[in-house]
Every structure is written in structure tokens, then in C-alpha cells.
């Protein structure tokens, strides 16, 4: 009997360890799959058709673009709507020709996805004829899936990315609907694939900055798990901040001045950001919120949902310094009675 008891105890301990260790191993595996997918399109040659789907005002919209990867150069789109990337360079084509979009390495590290999300790895249905695995990132508080990333089992290339709302419903997706080539022998790299001459007089690529101009804010962390991964100054004086929680990236654009509401694109919806009125848009490129506060116009862009981006915006505002400068205070004091402040 004592021997049986020992065996039972050993089995129980082993089972307990398995319960504890297996999810950790699966989370690590999931993180590895995500890490592999980040740069798989640089390692692998591919071509196909990608479909972008997004929900706006309760209606689905879709668009398809050809994509191609050769020798580490990624090309999307065609004609006057295309973009190209290789290494740390990004180029965007428009009606007036090519212009540089980025030309320097990024240095700010993004947090590991598992820092803020519960990750699981599982099997998934084939996508465009390819066998896939899926990484599901769930809200650790509610357990609701908020992001699903489908990757090619052989090459690790991300084949589909789905963003889900708080109820677990897909609201945005980018994914291959046709794969013509993926993996196999690699083609020779193009001679000089991104040597393009920018047609713009104004340099559209932002400069990395260490210190912000007066009046702008850049909290190092924003509640929700977001970490500041880069801050940049554009030629027109706009400050761009880039935050990431490991899975979702958020850009914050700050411009000095009050928002010219009449100059904004039509459409969109009114949103409240911590008591401040703003406007939100859901377009192919992501979710956009615009508002102003303390004489600074802010625009945030992400592929996160409107609700998530609104929470980010409110948290960002909470973390920034709202005390007006001395000149502003004097102006308010003097002009207040005239109603001009």
C-alpha cells in the first residue's frame, strides 16, 4: 500500500508540474512564432495578393493589393499607390513620384508581447492553401481574444492578422487571399532595389530627437502596457511619438495650435476622450483619433480598435503635463474678461 501511495503522489506531482509548465512552454512558443514572423518576409521570397478588411460605421470594407518579396525587398501595391521597404528604408509612391518615408534605423525597443498579453499557440485552418498555426493574444483580465496572428507553418511568414474588439469579434484584418510563391529557392537580390530619387523638396522623413520642443509631452510609459519606442520631429514641426505594447503600435502626432475642425476630412464620428471632444476615423490604414488640448492638436493612429485607442488617448493625456506656461497664464488673465482667451 505504501508503494502505491508513493506512486500516486509521484503521478500527482508530475501532473501538477505539467499543468504549471505546459502553458509557459506554449506561451514561449507563441512568442517565438511572433518573433519569427516579424522578419520572415525579409528572409523569404514571396508573392501573392493581400486583402485588407476593416469595419467602419458597422459596414465592412475591403481592398486588395499585390505584394511581392524578393531578396529582402518588400513591395506592396502598384502604380501610384505602392510602398517599398528594405532594411531601414521605406519608400512611398504617389501621383508625383516616389518619396522617402524612412531612412534610419530605429533604436527604441518594443516590449515582449507576453509582457501585456496572454499568448497561446494553436492549429488553424489553411490560409490561401498554406498550413498555418495561430497565435492568439488575449486580454489577461477578461480572457477575451484581442488579436490573432496566423503564420505559415513552414516559413513562419505572417499570412493573416486579425484585430478583435472587446467582445472578441473581428473588426479589422490584413491577410493573404492568394499565395503564388512562398519559400523554396531564393531569388537573387535586385541590384539596387530602393535607389529612388525623392521628388519632394520637403524631406518627409522624420528626424530622431533626444529632447522634445517646449510644450510637447512624451511620457515614457502609457497605462495599458505601452512603452515609448521612438520620438521624431518632422519638417513641419510635428512631433511623432511611437508607442508599442508588443503587439499594437500607436503613433501620436502633436502639433502646436488649436485644432481646425473645419479642415478635418469629412465623415468620421465624434468621440469623447476623457471629457474632451474629438473625432475618430476607421480607414484602411487604421483607426485615427484627433483632438486638441492645451493648445496642442493631437492625432493618434493605430490598428487597434476605437475603444482601445480612445483608452490610450485618455491615458496619454493623463500622463502629460497640462499646466499652461507663464505667457499662456498671463494671456488668459488679461484677455479672459474680453472673452478672447
Amino acid at each position: 500500500m505504501r508503494r502505491l501511495a508513493r506512486i500516486a503522489v509521484a503521478v500527482g506531482v508530475a501532473a501538477g508540474l505539467a499543468v504549471v509548465v505546459l502553458p509557459i512552454a506554449r506561451a514561449d512558443d507563441a512568442e517565438s512564432v511572433l518573433e519569427r514572423a516579424r522578419n520572415a518576409t525579409v528572409r523569404e521570397d514571396f508573392s501573392g495578393l493581400v486583402q485588407i478588411e476593416w469595419l467602419t460605421d458597422g459596414k465592412w470594407k475591403t481592398a486588395r493589393v499585390p505584394v511581392n518579396g524578393t531578396g529582402g525587398t518588400v513591395q506592396v501595391g502598384e502604380g501610384t499607390r505602392q510602398a517599398e521597404g528594405r532594411g531601414d528604408e521605406r519608400w512611398i509612391a504617389g501621383v508625383s513620384g516616389w518619396q522617402a518615408g524612412w531612412d534610419e534605423p530605429v533604436s527604441g525597443a518594443v516590449p515582449a508581447p507576453s509582457t501585456h498579453w496572454d499568448l497561446t499557440l494553436g492549429k488553424a485552418d489553411p490560409i490561401a492553401g498554406r498550413t498555418t498555426v495561430v497565435v492568439t493574444a488575449s486580454d489577461p483580465d477578461t480572457g477575451t481574444a484581442r488579436l490573432k496572428v496566423y503564420c505559415d507553418k513552414d516559413t513562419g511568414v505572417m499570412l493573416r492578422r486579425e484585430v478583435l474588439d472587446h467582445r472578441g469579434h473581428v473588426v479589422r484584418a490584413v491577410g493573404f487571399v492568394e499565395v503564388k510563391k512562398l519559400g523554396g529557392s531564393r531569388a537573387t537580390a535586385p541590384a539596387d532595389p530602393v535607389t529612388k530619387k525623392s521628388v519632394k523638396q520637403q524631406d518627409p522623413t522624420p528626424d530622431k530627437i533626444a529632447d522634445l520642443p517646449a510644450g510637447f509631452d512624451a511620457p515614457a510609459k502609457v497605462p495599458g502596457g505601452y512603452v515609448l519606442a521612438g520620438r521624431y520631429l518632422r519638417d513641419d514641426g510635428t512631433v511623432q511619438l511611437y508607442y508599442s505594447d508588443g503587439l499594437f503600435g500607436v503613433s501620436v502626432f502633436q502639433q502646436r495650435g488649436d485644432l481646425d475642425w473645419n479642415g478635418l476630412p469629412h465623415g468620421g464620428n465624434g468621440v469623447q476622450i476623457d471629457g474632451t471632444s474629438g473625432r475618430g476615423y476607421e480607414v484602411a490604414g487604421g483607426t485615427v483619433l484627433v483632438w486638441d488640448r492645451d493648445n496642442v492638436a493631437r492625432t493618434v493612429v493605430s490598428d487597434a480598435t476605437v475603444a482601445d485607442l480612445r483608452a490610450f488617448a485618455a491615458a496619454f493625456d493623463d500622463r502629460t503635463d497640462h499646466s499652461p506656461g507663464i505667457v499662456r497664464r498671463i494671456t488668459d488673465f488679461v484677455l479672459g474678461p474680453f472673452g478672447w482667451s
Binding site: R38, T41, V42, V50, I52, K61, A63, V65, V76, G77, R81, Q82, G85, D88, R90, I92, G101, W102, V106, V110, V157, M158, R161, V174, G175, P204, Q240, Y242, S244, G249, S251, F253, Q255, R256, G257, D258, L259, D260, L264, P265, H266, G267, Y281, V283, A284, G285, G286, V288, V290, A297, T299, V301, S302, D303, V327, I330, T331, V334, F338, W340
Partner: protein, 163 residues
């Protein structure tokens, strides 16, 4: 017969600071400054107020300010008002000022500051965020630390903003 005032007033001291006095006035002010502590104190106040106003940033007045100013009705002139002002003995007039002249001077400075603030203090500028360009800029930045295809693909789609 004009009698010399006891001490230079703020107008003279302001002119003194701006180098707009006559030689005689300048000599008189120098003499007063050398002997009168009160004159030195008043000069310091005038200089401080003058510097404060000059330190305000130069900005355009709001458009409606000039419209209101030009549209304002002029003050009616009393019927019995003389058409030509009578000669004034300035030194006598200065001496007749009430004891509250410092209060009046302070009010004058405050009024000048308000007018200067209305005209000179910056009005909030407005900006129009180029949301389409910002969306592209986000996609580009995002593609550097995430999957390039899913980040860049939306760049190849018309932004979807309506004008």
C-alpha cells in the same frame, strides 16, 4: 510766469529714458536724480513698466479687433465745447494734479498693459492635421518593428478620408 515743477513727472522721465528730452530737461532730470530719492524711485518704476511692455511678444491683433475699432462710434462732442483749445500752462497744470496722481499713473500703466496685451499677446493658432499623411507615417514606422507586409499593405489603398 512759469514756475519750475518740484520734480520731473513720468512723461518727462519716460522721455528721459527714451533720449527724447531737450538738453535743458535732461540737465534738470540729472540734477533731480542726483538729489532726490523719490525721483530715482519713480524713474525706476517707469523703466520697469516700460521694459515689461516691451518684453511682450509681438503678434498681430485678431482680425475682429480692427473691425470693431473701425466700427466704433466716436464720442459725441458737447455743443458748448470750444472749437479751439485754450492755451495751457503745462507746469501749472502739473502742479494742480491731485494727490492721487500715483493712483492715476498706476491705472494708466495698467490700461496701457491691457491695450498692449490685447494687441501684442499671441492669439491661439489653428492647425489642420494631415491625417492621411499621418496614417501613412504610422504605417511606415510600424513596419520597422513589425511584419512589413501587414503594416505596409494599407499604404497601397486609397486612404479612405473624404474631403
Amino acid at each position: 510766469m512759469n514756475r519750475e515743477p518740484l520734480m520731473p513727472d513720468e512723461d518727462v522721465l519716460s522721455a528721459y529714458l527714451d533720449g527724447e528730452c531737450t538738453d535743458a530737461e535732461r540737465a534738470w532730470v540729472d540734477e533731480q536724480l542726483a538729489t532726490s530719492e523719490e525721483t530715482r524711485a519713480v524713474l525706476a518704476e517707469v523703466a520697469e513698466a516700460r521694459d515689461a511692455v516691451r518684453a511682450l511678444p509681438l503678434r498681430d491683433a485678431p482680425p475682429e479687433f480692427w473691425a470693431r475699432l473701425l466700427a466704433a462710434d466716436p464720442q459725441p462732442v458737447p455743443a458748448d465745447a470750444p472749437s479751439v483749445p485754450a492755451p495751457v500752462d503745462l507746469a501749472e497744470a502739473r502742479r494742480r494734479r491731485s494727490p492721487g496722481r500715483w493712483l492715476a499713473a498706476a491705472a494708466g500703466v495698467a490700461a496701457a498693459a491691457v491695450i498692449a496685451a490685447v494687441i501684442l499677446v499671441p492669439q491661439p493658432q489653428t492647425v489642420t492635421p494631415p491625417v492621411g499623411a499621418f496614417t501613412d507615417a504610422h504605417a511606415v514606422r510600424s513596419s520597422l518593428q513589425d511584419d512589413a507586409v501587414s503594416s505596409l499593405a494599407p499604404l497601397a489603398v486609397a486612404a479612405g478620408f473624404r474631403r
